[in-house]
C-alpha cells in the first residue's frame, strides 16, 4: 500500500516560552534558541509541505510569538498553500502585532488558558499570565479569524469545569477545546498532582454534554478524554507516520511530540533531507507505520485499524517497550501499570494528600 500524504505539519518553531506549564508537551531536553531553523529554512520546509500534500500548519512552541519573524513565517506558509493555525499563550502579543499576523494570512488563533481562576492558572503556568490572556481574547474578536479557546484540565481544576466553560462563553470563541492532560514528559513528572479521579472524569463528561446541548450553534466544544480511564487507547496522532508530522525547533522530524523519548530511534533533519524523503523513506517514520510491528493482542484485534495499537511513547514510558500494546488498553497484558497509577488517586490514595502548592510542581524551564 502506498504511503498516504501527511495532512498536517506541527511546527514547534521555538522551545522558548515565558510560561512554565507543569504539563508542557515539549520534551524534557529542549532545543536552544541558537539551534533553531532560520526564517528561510522554515519557509522552504513549508513550501515542501504544501507540495507533499499537507493541508494544515500548526505553528506552536514553546511560545511561537517568541520568534520575531513570525509574520514572515505565516506569509511563507500561505505562499506554500497551507492553512495557518497559531497555538499560543498570547503572552507578548500587542494589537499591532496581531494585526500584522492577520494581514500576513493567519487564519485561526488558538489561545490557551490554564484555568478560570487566576491563582490556579498562574500556579500551573508558573508565572502571572491569566489576566493578560483575558484582555487578549477581546482583541482577537476584533479580527476576522477563527478563534479557539483551549483549556487543559486535570485534578486541580476539573471540579470547576462549569466555571471554565462559563469563562469561555464570555470570551466568545467559535470553539472551546477542553483537553485532559496527557502523561508524557513534564506531565508525567507531575502525574501525582494532575491525574483526576474517576468521579471527576465522569462528572466532567456530564458537564460537557449539557454544555454542548445548551451552546449548540454558538460555541462548539471538543472534549479530549483522559486515556488512562478509557477502555481502549486513543488513535495517537491518527497512527504513527500516517497523518501528521512534527518538526522541532532545530528541524528534527518526529512522528509526534514525545517520540524523542523512545530509545534507539534516529530522527532525520530537514537540514539534511527533504520532507518528502523523511515522510516516505526515513527509518523513524516507518518504524511503527502500518501493522507489521504489532504484538498480540493488537495484531489480531479488530480495533487495530481504528486505534493503531495506541501510543508508542506511552507504551515505552509505562512499560519500557515502545512496541508493546498501549497499556491504557484494557486488553493489554501490561494494563496493570495503569490500574496501579489510578489506584493511587482515590480519595484515600497517597497522592490526594499532597498539597498542591507551587513548591510541589516540577516546572519546565526556558531553554534560553
Amino acid at each position: 500500500m502506498p504511503t498516504p500524504n501527511p495532512l498536517a505539519l506541527i511546527a514547534e518553531i521555538t522551545h522558548r516560552c515565558p510560561l512554565h506549564c507543569v504539563y508542557c508537551s515539549n520534551p524534557l531536553e529542549m532545543q536552544k534558541a541558537a539551534g533553531e531553523l532560520s526564517t528561510e529554512e522554515w519557509v522552504r520546509v513549508f513550501r515542501e509541505a504544501g507540495q507533499l500534500g499537507v493541508l494544515h500548519l500548526h505553528l506552536t512552541g514553546g511560545e511561537p510569538l517568541a520568534r520575531p519573524d513570525l509574520t514572515e513565517l505565516i506569509t511563507g506558509a500561505r505562499a506554500g498553500g497551507l492553512y495557518v493555525n497559531l497555538i499560543t499563550s498570547g503572552i507578548g502579543l500587542s494589537e499591532t502585532r496581531l494585526g500584522a499576523l492577520v494581514d500576513a494570512g493567519l487564519e485561526h488563533f488558538q489561545l490557551s488558558f490554564q484555568d478560570s481562576r487566576e491563582a490556579g492558572a498562574n500556579e500551573i503556568a508558573g508565572t502571572p499570565s491569566h489576566a493578560r490572556k483575558l484582555q487578549l481574547a477581546g482583541l482577537i474578536r476584533q479580527f476576522k479569524i477563527a478563534f479557539t479557546v483551549n483549556v487543559v484540565v486535570h485534578r486541580q481544576n476539573l471540579d470547576h469545569l462549569g466555571e471554565i466553560i462559563a469563562m469561555a462563553e464570555e470570551l466568545g470563541p467559535d470553539r472551546l477545546e477542553i483537553a485532559n492532560v496527557q502523561y508524557y514528559g513534564w506531565a508525567l513528572r507531575n502525574r501525582d498532582l494532575l491525574l483526576p479521579t474517576r468521579e471527576q472524569v465522569e462528572q466532567s463528561q456530564r458537564t460537557v454534554a449539557a454544555a454542548e446541548e445548551r451552546l449548540r450553534g454558538r460555541m462548539r466544544i471538543d472534549y479530549v478524554a483522559p486515556d488512562y480511564y478509557a477502555r481502549y487507547p486513543k488513535a495517537c496522532m491518527g497512527g504513527w507516520g500516517r497523518r501528521l508530522l512534527l518538526l522541532d525547533p532545530a528541524g528534527q522530524a518526529l512522528p509526534c511530540h514525545a517520540a524523542g523519548v523512545i530509545p534507539g530511534m534516529q530522527f532525520d533533519n530537514v537540514r539534511q533531507h527533504s520532507l518528502d524523503w523523511i515522510w516516505r523513506e526515513s527509518a523513524a517514520f516507518q518504524r511503527f507505520r502500518g501493522e507489521d510491528w504489532m504484538p498480540e493482542p493488537c495484531r489480531s484485534c479488530e480495533r487495530r485499524t481504528e486505534d493503531f495499537g495506541g501510543c508508542r511513547c506511552q507504551a515505552f514510558l509505562l512499560t519500557g517497550n515502545a512496541a508493546a500494546t498501549d497499556p491504557v488498553c484494557t486488553l493489554a497484558p501490561t494494563h496493570g501499570v495503569v490500574e496501579q497509577a489510578l489506584s493511587q488517586v482515590g480519595p484515600d490514595g497517597p497522592s490526594m494528600a499532597v498539597p498542591a502548592s507551587a513548591a510541589s510542581w516540577v516546572y519546565r524551564p526556558n531553554p534560553g
Binding site: 507540495q51 498553500g81 492553512y83 467559535d174
Partner: protein, 92 residues
C-alpha cells in the same frame, strides 16, 4: 431543530475558506480540518456568499434540479446548513 431562517444570508464562518491543495480538487478549509465536497453539498456551499438568502439558494437549486423533489431539496439545504453551522463552518 429549526432550520435557518429563509431570509438569513449564509456565509463561510471566520477562518473558513476555499483552498486548492496543489492544484488538486477544491476543498473547504477550516481550523481543524478540510471538506472535500461534491454534488449538492458543494452547490450549496458555493452559494454561501453572504449575499444570497437561504430562500434564494433553495430556489436556485430547485431550478437547477428541476426533476428533483423540491420539498426534499429544501430539507437538504436546511439540514446541510444546520450541520455546518454547528461545526462553525457556516454562519447565518
Amino acid at each position: 431543530m429549526p432550520g435557518p431562517d429563509k431570509n438569513s444570508k449564509p456565509r463561510l464562518a471566520r477562518g473558513c475558506r476555499w483552498g486548492e491543495a496543489n492544484g488538486a480538487e477544491r476543498m473547504l478549509m477550516f481550523p481543524e480540518g478540510a471538506l472535500r465536497l461534491q454534488g449538492t453539498g458543494r452547490e450549496i456551499l458555493e452559494r454561501c456568499d453572504g449575499q444570497r438568502s437561504t430562500q434564494q439558494i433553495v430556489e436556485e437549486l430547485q431550478a437547477q434540479y428541476k426533476s428533483g423533489d423540491s420539498g426534499r431539496i429544501l430539507q437538504e439545504v436546511h439540514d446541510f446548513l444546520e450541520n455546518l453551522q454547528q461545526k462553525r463552518v457556516v454562519d447565518y
